[in-house]
């Protein structure tokens, strides 16, 4: 029992304690309820961090799985200037040689008012350099993961592969056209960190992993591409043309095995590449095709049954007056059959075949072969060429178009037209991407050869092949394109260039051929823009030998069985 005098004191103590607990309770209520939002956000900011992880860009592979482009992880150096500012000059001096930059600009960045800066983002560091910087134990210096795009083959197939910009986005070639597949998806992690900023792995809240981009497998074969590039380089050195292209394809499927263009560039050194170097002339440049276009006229006329290979045409001894203008042949010819018109490449003969065919039919075949339309190859920058509609033809057009004037085509369009004849009249869509595969190599999407349509009948193609075989015979225009062990069918083209609206004494020399002629496996287009050395400019003498060199090496590489058995057989012991 509490005595009366103590009762008052006890009440005071109880009251005091109650007040203290009430005050504490109120403070707790204030912190946990009234200020909950602000304080919990503050605590979360101190504890939690969102880390973004970039998905790796997919690789570009050739048909055999060889790497043509890949992304490698690198690091760039970052800094927190609020920490580095007092020691900026000292840190800058240590980092400048590794970051390949000057001390002054680095000092400026290290003492800037920001909280986070990237120190020379162009300097991509490998693990060794990162280790060196770590060993320096510099306060306020960190690293950011990035990727750098590498091209193991350097300039090989650079026009096909393309390149990426500083943000790792495709700008040209497959890098640009397949951007949606190649691009990786970024992920993020919400992590909790300790006092020193290290992650407490057990408390990781959210984790959405990055997804690497898909790999793109091309139809291009690295070795065949190398052959094309080497032979084109040799031709460039020998004939000194302004530009040149070689395209190698499979006529039956439309697969592009090699696509080479000069001048070229190295995607690993984009600063040295001009816009002219970067242009893929196989799909972006148009020119009058010249005599190679005679295949369109003759195949059309044969297909319509208007002429046969043996039908005779008077080639007027090299000068044919039509619609008030004289049409010339390179060499004067008398009466020639359609077959002879093709292998002697008579302009007058082709014009007369077209006259018999009529403009509407000719225009129809030009359209059916795909001229004036994009081939829809999976490469950016393709142009559709110029094929005027029939309404815009003048009285001379019917005699000029058959010899490849008044029309402009890309080298790829011309090759696909020749492929149509090689493929029994079925026009194929050119295919450069074989499949899209994930990082484990599982195919996500498989591209199939796509026939566009039957342009001419198989019988017409057989007749055309018969005539085109003679182009590489001694009496044809391209004996130098003939192969020893394979039957070749092809057509030469020597088109005059137009400058300031006038034809000048500059030429596009080209040859398009396929082999084995009876069952075409490979077709090759060689085109040189204005060969200036050696005096030769005819397609047969300039592009023909290049075709032969490429074809021989490609046949050897692919292990194609020769049609003519070798004269010397190895002894097997």
């Amino acid at each position: 029992m509490i005595l009366a005098p103590h009762k008052g004191r006890a009440l005071i103590v109880v009251g005091a304690l109650a007040s203290v607990f009430m005050a504490l309770g109120f403070r707790l209520f204030d912190l946990h309820v009234l200020q909950h939002k602000e304080l919990s956000a503050l605590a979360q900011r101190n504890r939690e961090r969102v880390v973004h992880r970039q998905g790796r860009r997919g690789a570009i592979l050739d048909a055999n799985g060889n790497l043509l482009a890949n992304s490698l992880p690198v690091r760039i150096v970052t800094a927190d200037p609020t920490v580095t500012a007092p020691q900026a000059a000292n840190i800058a001096e240590k980092l400048a040689p590794l970051l390949q930059t000057d001390v002054a600009s680095l000092t400026e960045k290290l003492s800037s008012p920001a909280h986070y800066v990237r120190l020379n983002p162009r300097a991509k560091l490998d693990e060794d350099a990162v280790k060196k910087i770590r060993e320096m134990k510099l306060k306020g210096i960190g690293f950011e993961d990035q990727f750098v795009r590498i091209y193991p083959d350097g300039p090989l197939a650079s026009h096909v592969i393309g390149f990426v910009d500083h943000d790792h986005r495709g700008v040209q070639g497959i890098e640009a056209s397949m951007e949606d597949y190649l691009e990786g998806q970024a992920g993020y992690e919400v992590i909790e960190q300790d006092r020193k900023g290290r992650e407490i792995r057990a408390l990781r809240d959210e984790e959405i992993g990055p997804r690497d981009g898909f790999n793109v497998v091309l139809t291009v074969d690295e070795a065949i591409q190398h052959i094309a590039e080497q032979e084109l380089e040799k031709a460039m050195a020998e004939f000194k043309p302004q530009a040149g292209v070689i395209i190698i394809s499979r006529p039956k499927t439309g697969e592009i095995l090699a696509m080479s263009s000069r001048p070229t560039f190295d995607p690993t050194n984009m600063d040295a590449a001009s816009a002219d170097d970067r242009r893929n002339r196989c799909i972006s440049d148009v020119a009058e095709p010249g005599s190679t276009f005679k295949i369109v006229v003759c195949s059309g006329a044969l297909n319509e049954g208007i002429v046969s290979l043996n039908d005779q045409f008077d080639c007027e001894n090299g000068a044919f007056m039509y619609a008030g203008r004289i049409l010339h042949d390179a060499h004067p010819f008398g009466v020639l059959s359609v077959e002879e018109i093709l292998f002697h490449s008579s302009n007058i003969g082709a014009a007369k075949v077209a006259l018999r065919m009529g403009p509407s039919r000719l225009a129809d075949y030009i359209h059916r072969y795909g001229f004036g339309h994009k081939t829809e190859i999976a490469l950016p920058g393709e142009v559709s060429g110029i094929a005027h509609p029939l309404a815009r033809w003048n009285s001379l057009s019917i005699t000029r178009i058959p010899m490849g004037h008044e029309i402009a085509v890309t080298p790829l369009q011309m090759l696909m037209a020749m492929n149509t004849i090689a493929n029994n009249g079925v026009r194929m869509k050119p295919q450069i991407v074989k499949s899209i595969v994930d990082q484990d190599g599982t195919a996500v999407f498989q591209f199939q050869p796509q026939p566009v349509g039957q342009v001419v009948a198989p019988r017409t193609c057989q007749l055309m092949t018969t005539a085109l075989r003679k182009v590489v015979s001694p009496e044809g225009t391209a004996p130098k394109a003939n192969l020893e062990r394979f039957d070749v069918a092809g057509k030469t083209g020597t088109a005059q260039k137009v400058e300031n609206g006038q034809y000048v004494r500059k030429y596009y020399s080209s040859f398009i051929g396929y082999f084995p002629a009876s069952n075409a496996e490979i077709s090759i287009l060689v085109s040189l823009d204005d060969p200036t050395v050696g005096g030769a400019f005819y397609g047969g003498s300039v592009a023909g030998p290049v075709f032969r060199a490429v074809a021989e090496r490609v046949a050897e590489y692919l292990g194609m069985e020769p049609q003519t058995p070798p004269t010397e057989v190895a002894k097997v012991s």
Partner: protein
């Protein structure tokens, strides 16, 4: 006396129960702490392994690219010239082509008479003669 004994036994029971309860709480508490520690330890282990996996993947990528660079036809040609290896493609006459066996070959093989069977004992003896060191299971 009887009442006192009853009170004593009641106390003992309560104490035992309390003790058990305390031990349970302590074990649960210690278990919780131990589990928590294990979680953190495993978290650190996962983090270390993640870093090691990431590092291996990076290394793999770098090596794959180096390999691609070394296997590049341009690089191979340079090396061939550098070391004067004199490597050339075989001439057509040096290539021996073997016909791919087709369905006719399969039919021929299917209809071909089987070789006469050698008795197992003879076969074993023959093996023993040819390979004296080998053991033959009979």
């Amino acid at each position: 006396m009887k009442r006192n004994r009853k009170r004593e036994s009641l106390r003992f029971g309560t104490v035992t129960k309390s003790l058990v309860a305390c031990i349970c709480v302590a074990v649960a508490g210690l278990g919780y702490v131990w589990q928590k520690n294990a979680i953190y330890r495993l978290g650190d282990e996962i983090k270390r392994r993640e870093a090691s996996l990431s590092s291996a993947q990076k290394r793999n990528l770098i090596l794959a690219s180096k390999l691609a660079q070394l296997e590049s036809p341009v690089e191979l040609e340079v090396k061939c010239q550098q070391y004067s290896l004199g490597l050339v493609a075989p001439k057509e006459g040096q290539v021996l082509r073997l016909p791919e066996p087709g369905p006719e070959w399969d039919m021929q093989m299917a209809n071909a008479p089987l070789p006469p069977r050698t008795p197992t004992r003879q076969l074993a003896q023959a093996k023993q003669v040819s390979q004296p060191g080998t053991l033959v299971r009979q």
